[in-house]
Symmetry: C2
DNA sequence: CTGCCAACTAACCGGACGGTTAGCAAACCG
DNA sequence: CGGTTTGCTAACCGTCCGGTTAGTTGGCAG
């Protein structure tokens, strides 16, 4: 079955979201104009309003996406981890993995105050719930002996800070691969909270084992950053479609 | 000697800077308008242009201030610390202490890409130098046995991330005092990099010993957030000045 | 072939924001 | 005292940006 019109719409919508998330992360929400997002995707500003009602809803969707990933990671880690420490470290690991290859290097957006009041309130509720769950892992770990006695609040702030700083220096195209980063961060967090001496850490993150390259989005990648579409592009579209069906 | 006109000018300039830094940290550079900064100080926008040529130079001054504090902390720690680990942890401790009470809770500004190209280049140079010095502390510590073998780059990224996240959750008016925060962060960083088992950490940051309240700025505090000055204010100014001389 | 709808562009609108100008009042200086 | 400078306000300007509108094109259903 070929993709229906609705499928295509959904995929393009996601493309817009990824582009926006990448820009918001890199330059900040207010420093990113709708025109810029549109131009990077090779369309005009007005086209974006077919997928999102306004700029703010784009930001809200980014946060929603991130929080979904957070809770999914939480659930997976709850099952896979055997004690508080393992669950905590696994949560962060799953979380960063999911966001890095779904939302194009974005880890966590920082300008939550730019959200509309309702969206903001919702985010704060969800984030609090997430952070409470993480702190609970710390307490659980202290009780089961896997985590060193410490202030759970502070420990989680430190870990989240390190996580949220990642987009500022990590580029998926750099020497460190995303799964190397992920493993190295897990080692660091483990050392931070573990009650017992931790196995040696990597002396060089680049030496960690790494799987194959993560998949890259296909749609609109060829057109990225080449200005608005022209009549010529429509013909190309037609050709591609015809070629695809053959 | 009473303050000269230049003294007053310098003090007010610093007040503007503090207010701007606090706003930039809280809402972000682009989300803060000159009107808002001015209003919080009880003046009009145009008044700000007596102290800074434009908005961007305000941001540049913030970064300059922060980098000065960074290098000062580095030097102090180089002398006070007895090995790589101590020097690293002391640097961060001095740094956060200085910024918290000089720049009103600001730790590090994040929107460096908003700077003018020249300012940005200068900042990047300085920041790289700072980070290289921190990484050198890690390497020094690994050699002298005070730091666990690890990737210096990653360790510093993790520590800086935790630091730069502080302004997102720490409020000087909250239950944790700034020196409690400082001590607790030092414990965390120590545990992260130390080669040997670390003394127990605080179970509750609020239980850490704390000195008296940090000093609060006096100038313009009374007027903060009460709209532009009117003729009435001038008379108040006069009274204050007269009273001060008596 | 015909009519409709989705997708998109080009052009435009209103408002906010950075920055400027003119002018006034107090402070300083001889 | 008079003349100049400083510190500020009120009003204004140009630009950019979020969002809208009208119109065009191509695919698709009947």
């Amino acid at each position: 079955m070929f993709p229906t019109r609705e499928d295509v719409h959904g995929i393009k919508r996601l493309e817009v979201l990824r582009e926006a998330a990448a820009s918001f992360n890199f330059k900040g929400y207010h420093a990113t104009s709708m025109n810029e997002i549109a131009a990077s995707l090779g369309v005009t500003k007005a086209a974006l309003y077919h997928y999102f009602p306004n700029k703010n809803s784009l930001l809200a969707a980014c946060f929603e996406h991130a929080m979904d990933a957070a809770f999914a990671s939480l659930e997976r880690a709850r099952k896979d981890g055997r004690n508080g420490r393992e669950r905590l470290v696994l949560t962060m690991s799953y979380y960063v993995a999911q966001l890095i290859n779904e939302l194009n290097c974005c880890v966590v957006l920082m300008e939550e105050q730019a959200l509309e009041p309702e969206d903001h309130a919702k985010l704060v509720r969800q984030r609090d719930r997430f952070e409470r769950a993480l702190r609970a892992f710390i307490r659980e770990g202290i009780e089961d002996g896997s985590v060193v006695p410490c202030d759970p609040k502070l420990a989680i702030f430190v870990i989240l800070g390190a996580m949220n700083w990642v987009p500022k220096w990590f580029k998926p195209s750099g020497v460190w691969k995303s799964d190397q980063l992920n493993a190295a961060l897990a080692q660091m967090f483990e050392r931070l909270v573990s009650s017992s001496p931790v196995a040696d850490m990597a002396r060089d993150v680049g030496d960690l084992p790494s799987r194959a390259e993560p998949p890259v989005s296909l749609i609109s990648l060829a057109r990225r950053g080449r200005g608005p579409r022209t009549g010529q592009d429509r013909k190309i579209d037609k050709k591609i479609k015809a070629g695809g069906k053959r």
